[in-house]
Symmetry: C2
Subunit: 320 residues, 2 copies
Amino acid sequence: MDRLIEAIEAAQNPSVVGLDPTPALVPPQVVDSFAEEVADQVEDPRELRATQLSVAYFAFNCAIIDAVADIVPAVKPQIAMYEALGPAGVDVYTMTCEYAQQQGLYVLGDIKRGDIGSTAAAYAAHLAGVAGGEEPFDAWHEDAVTVNPYLGSDGIVPFTDAAKAADKDLFALVRTSNPSSVQLQELELADGRRVYEHVAALVEEWGADSIGRFGYSRVGAVVGATHPDEGRALRGAMPHTFFLVPGYGAQGGTAQSVAGMFDRNGSGAIVNSSRGIIGAWLRSERWDDSMEASEALELVAQCAREAALDMRDQLRVAIP
Amino acid sequence: MDRLIEAIEAAQNPSVVGLDPTPALVPPQVVDSFAEEVADQVEDPRELRATQLSVAYFAFNCAIIDAVADIVPAVKPQIAMYEALGPAGVDVYTMTCEYAQQQGLYVLGDIKRGDIGSTAAAYAAHLAGVAGGEEPFDAWHEDAVTVNPYLGSDGIVPFTDAAKAADKDLFALVRTSNPSSVQLQELELADGRRVYEHVAALVEEWGADSIGRFGYSRVGAVVGATHPDEGRALRGAMPHTFFLVPGYGAQGGTAQSVAGMFDRNGSGAIVNSSRGIIGAWLRSERWDDSMEASEALELVAQCAREAALDMRDQLRVAIP
């Protein structure tokens, strides 16, 4: 986790921008502006919409990355948004990751993969790269990924091995930000603990042999901003585990509700905001339906930068 | 689940072939045979190996699909094996799914996705297709997908909605076949049940409003062949839930250990074998290192067909 912590220190900003585009978050004139270019490329006309959105997502992401690269340490593209467009979207996911790395950002791939041993080993290529050349080929351009713990350590060890080999990290789901997370994660166990507390203990264990020089291991935990009390308790129970905190902004989390997830030095966590930053243009008075695509992208970028600065400043006030 | 059950009935064979290629499972001369073709296509020489393997996986999969299409009802490509090669692999995953559907097979995409509401909705495009044209564009060509229940119903409802709209199905992880599945799935709850039993009850609930004409809902469950006693008990506790049973063959499951997961009519489950079928050529006495690529693929196909017939016949004897 050292690289991420250094990047946070350098920016003096423990926040990460979620690059989760949807058709509603990209200005329509930006999507329209690629119509001709895409029509020439696509063989099957049914693929037009998916391809056009994919190209638009990349332009949208690059505009945002350029606008925030000097103020945030990291971005977190959510692969689901790209998979929703099929393989063309997956291409744009990797292009986005690569572009963000080129701009000096730490890229946290929100992929939430989880499977049994040999299959988890295949997924771990997200971190390890494709073997077989002189050195592994990095097809995904992620510095860390999120993983699902439901299958136990068989599903995690291939990722920790890959993380150690490639100087990368992973974040296991512990307590997610959504309402129905209670249905499984909050179940009370026979020993009095909750399921997520048991998973938290497993995560500390999984990271025990990869603790870096700031005291945090390569195995982080996802702890939703919507659970401030549990987050504070987990901070105490997981001294070597760095937290990725989603649910800020649109889902209701505030700087105050995440403050308890940081350690006494103001480190130990990074807070994600997606729609609050990449969709900030939707709340702008400067928006005008008749804008050209380039003007619209410029406004997207300006609003994202303002929202990212605002979030940074709110976190700086709230965090110890 | 009606389409799958009909396909099983037609083939009189409740087994599914796992299309999980790895570099070790594809004969080396098949991979080599694509060297020139790929060298012309790839811009960055570091991508060569991944692209060459991707093309080889597709040829390998097509050979197997052609060899088994008349004896099995379904195939189950494991997307991790394709993601391990980056976007080129993901392309081949969708091409494999499309080819299998064209040959009349039900395609069960083993993607184990799971995320919160809005993100799960994006993943559900695997079933729903890409909106925006005259009708949704099916970019993935899957008839069903596997999903992870750790996030609760928020992560499931988008898939059940999509399944109903598109006449497709999903399978939620309940009791996986791997050894460390005990670390979370077998935890004892305060009410005396195990975590997986609680998840089993959720799965029955999630499927309650999509029960088809054979009595099974659109929400199936993944129950590993390596847990015969729990599988038998779950069969009783989940009367409307169709089972996908992995772990047959290479992982130790036998026709006897899966028999209890079927209902009294010999329906209610489909058993997966991957390496036991697609890697059957590795155990063949007819193998010869000096074979041409086309001969090697022919042997892969023959051995896969023999192994699939053998599995079918063993299941027919063991199942009520």
